[in-house]
């Protein structure tokens, strides 16, 4: 007969050990459950998160994003509110929020990267950015410029907008030209097609595209705006003079004079109307043409970037970056959301129809959402290798930002296109840029 009394175990568990072991077990299980369900910590429940974004050029993306944010909020008990305003109004809004010390919990820089201006008042997001970098095979080298100041991450890059060449194959064929690969090819096409009623155009005006497009040409011609430290101006070079000379030639030979009045959407309409032979613009122009003029769209192709005289290819992207005010009332939720959207970048790309380009290397695995299965846009799947941003090869510092927002570079190209002497234009432009850098150094 067996003794019914319990046999004392050789291993005894006291109360403290029990609490420690079960506590760790419960915490681990909760964490695993949270990770599985992509849920944020329970402390977020009952809180609110206000975020400010721009009105995306692909309206369907905003609809997707708002729904995505709401679902995340519902799953985590966070009341999410997303405000969208035009991208050009963001800097004024941030200046007001900063002055008031109140506003949105999660903010967004687009095109104008204000990380350098506001970093003292932004939450250090190094843990988030470094975590994402490790998880997704490192950040693109140029991403650091958008998010880092002094080696710390004060902004987390979300995506950038590529600005490739969109060209009409039927028109190129009509003058016996093959697919373009260089700026010289594009110039030749413009020269041959303008007399046939199909000129080209790049903005010589005060708009974002003018800043991006002429910088792309400059960088492809080997121009460096500053050294890698961002402290010393290098734009006063023979490469810059060559780029200006080339721009003058391509304007005279193959552009419409409308370019002096164009805004960011004019070239979209120019291509979609069937007049333009090629433009240098984001793929929103490609999508606009697809939606409004299928016949033209059928013959429209994409070149990631044209090569300069020495074979250099640099596409100038428009970066989009998350940041959190120090006065944010819900830093934990804002951080969680940044990670959540980064973890779902594939869905975001799909929703943007290939417009959003990721900053994280691993997200370039082919086929990329929105691009990989597109016979024309598939060429953009290696865009990370040729993308630079303003200030190149230096970072997007406050003086580089001021040079951008005061349109000095497009104005240099405008002056030369209108017949100004290259040396006089260089003297004026470099003088203005030096003045800006000197003022920033002094302050």
């Amino acid at each position: 007969m067996t003794d019914p009394r319990p046999v004392p175990s050789a291993v005894t568990v006291d109360r403290r050990d029990f609490i420690r072991v079960t506590g760790a077990g419960v915490a681990g299980a909760t964490l695993l459950t949270m990770l599985e369900a992509r849920q944020a910590p329970a402390q977020l429940r009952g809180t609110g998160l206000r975020m400010l974004k721009w009105s995306h050029f692909v309206p369907a993306y905003d609809a997707w994003f708002d729904d995505f944010a709401k679902k995340w909020g519902d799953a985590n008990g966070v009341k999410v509110r997303v405000d969208h305003i035009p991208h050009l109004e963001l800097p004024a809004r941030y200046a007001a929020e900063f002055a008031a010390g109140a506003g949105h919990d999660l903010i967004y820089f687009v095109g104008q990267i204000l990380t350098g201006q506001y970093y003292r008042n932004l939450v250090d997001l190094s843990d988030v950015a470094e975590g994402l970098g490790k998880k997704y095979g490192a950040w693109m080298e140029n991403a650091k410029s958008a998010g880092q100041v002094g080696g710390r991450w004060y902004g987390v890059p979300d995506f950038y907008i590529a600005i490739p060449v969109l060209w009409r194959k039927d028109l190129f064929d009509s003058v016996g030209l093959g697919a373009p690969t260089t700026w010289e090819d594009l110039r030749k096409a413009a020269r041959l097609l303008k007399p046939k009623g199909h000129p080209t155009g790049m903005q010589f005006s005060h708009c974002n595209d003018a800043n991006h497009n002429w910088r792309a040409l400059m960088y492809c011609f080997g121009v460096k705006e500053t050294d890698p430290s961002g402290q010393n101006i290098l734009i006063d070079s023979k490469e810059m003079r060559e780029a200006l000379r080339f721009a003058k030639a391509i304007y005279d030979e193959g552009m419409t004079p409308e370019v002096f009045s164009w805004d960011d959407a004019s070239d979209n309409r120019f291509l979609a109307s069937g007049v333009g032979s090629w433009i240098h613009d984001a793929i929103s122009a490609f999508r606009t043409t697809q939606d409004t003029n299928p016949k033209v769209f059928e013959h429209t192709y994409c070149l990631p970037e044209a090569a300069g005289p020495a074979g250099l290819r640099w596409n100038v992207g428009e970066p989009n970056v998350w940041a959190i005010w120090k006065f944010s009332k819900n830093v934990p939720a804002a951080k969680e959301f940044i990670q959540h959207i980064a973890n779902n970048q594939k869905e975001a790309m799909e929703a943007s129809r290939g417009y959003n380009m990721p900053f994280l290397r691993e997200q370039y695995k082919k086929p990329m959402p929105g691009l990989g299965n597109d016979s024309k846009l598939g060429v953009l799947q290696e865009q990370d290798k040729i993308t630079a941003f303003f200030g190149h090869p230096g970072p997007m510092t406050p003086p580089a930002q001021e040079v951008l927002t005061t349109f000095i570079v497009p104005d240099m190209f405008t002056r030369v296109a209108r017949g100004a002497n290259i040396e006089e234009t260089m003297k004026w432009g470099v003088g203005e840029i030096r003045r800006i850098y000197t003022k920033h150094k002094a302050s």
Binding site: A95, H206, T256, E258, P398, T405, W428
Partner: protein, 302 residues
């Protein structure tokens, strides 16, 4: 003996200043303090993201004067303000004379002419942006159909916002389109206050239309005219929206005015101190104009 503050004179003073207090408070809080703050900013190295600013004296003003774009913006601001002011005056006067006549549907017409002034500025300017579009401009298409210009793509196809003089004219035109109904309404208010007997008497005395306008109407409505002109000058000189939405100062600074330069430098580029200094250059332009207007007005009242 009653203390001074209980005398009827003192009570009148207290009552008067009490009535005046809200206006003084309003001007002090919403005009005085921001003005002093912008003075402080203009003499500091303040930037949008740095709350700690140090005193730099007149360096920001010197920086503005060293900036070539500043001189272009100053010239454009003067051309814009004076040109638009003259055009609004002429068109406003003409419209006021038309609207003062009695005709069927006058009330409806009077209501319709103020629409440009009452529409949200962003909406109306975006409408004009489309009408000035380089490719799809309805103005160009109409001119082309009338045979006044060639077809799209021809050398005489105007690029309204792309050719420097045309671009400045276009932004001025939109300002005039938006503002001249205001001038007309101000004039109309004045003209309706002139007693018809006086005009009739002048007619009997043989005064022609211009003489009646110059010798009777203008002197009688001068106070209203001065106030209207003062308002219009301030609105035009500080008008950022039209230029910002139509051209953002381009091409190559052809339409850059001091408000857009100040905004792009101070807010978009983040250099608050330099932006404030540029915007304060409007002050010496406005101050003498306002002093002259108000002194003339005062003299006329006596």
């Amino acid at each position: 003996m009653r203390p001074w503050w209980r005398t009827p004179t003192a009570r009148r003073y207290v009552f008067g200043y009490t009535l005046l207090a809200p206006a003084i408070l309003y001007v002090g809080l919403l005009v005085g303090i921001p003005f002093l703050f912008s003075l402080y900013l203009s003499m500091s190295d303040a930037s949008v993201g740095d709350p700690v600013a140090s005193f730099v004296g007149l360096q920001n003003f010197e920086a503005a004067l060293e900036n070539q774009a500043f001189y272009g913006a100053l010239r454009n601001t003067l051309v814009f303000t004076i040109g638009a002011g003259i055009l609004k005056g002429l068109l406003g006067t003409t419209l006021a004379f038309l609207l003062v006549q009695s005709f069927r549907g006058r009330r409806l017409v009077r209501a319709l002419v103020v629409i440009p002034f009452t529409l949200p500025i962003a909406v109306s300017v975006l409408g004009w942006k489309w009408m000035f579009d380089s490719q799809f401009s309805v103005v160009n298409w109409a001119l082309s159909r009338l045979g006044l210009i060639g077809a799209y793509g021809s050398a005489d196809w105007p690029v309204w916002l792309g050719q420097p003089h045309l671009a400045l004219f276009s932004v001025m035109f939109v300002n005039v389109w938006r503002g001249f109904p205001f001038s007309a309404i101000v004039l109309l208010a004045g003209m309706t206050s002139v007693a018809p007997e006086i005009i009739e008497a002048a007619k009997v005395d043989g005064a022609n239309f211009l003489q009646r306008f110059q010798r009777i109407i203008v002197p009688m409505i001068a106070p209203i005219l001065f106030i209207g002109t003062a308002f219009d000058t301030v609105f035009t000189l500080s008008d950022l929206s039209i230029v910002y939405l139509l051209t953002n100062g381009g091409p190559d600074g052809a339409t850059e005015i001091l408000p857009t330069l100040a905004y792009n430098t101070g807010i978009r580029a983040g250099a608050l101190g330099r932006g404030a200094a540029i915007s304060l250059f409007l002050f010496p332009l406005l101050l003498p104009a306002m002093i002259i207007l108000l002194r003339t007005l005062r003299r006329r009242q006596y």
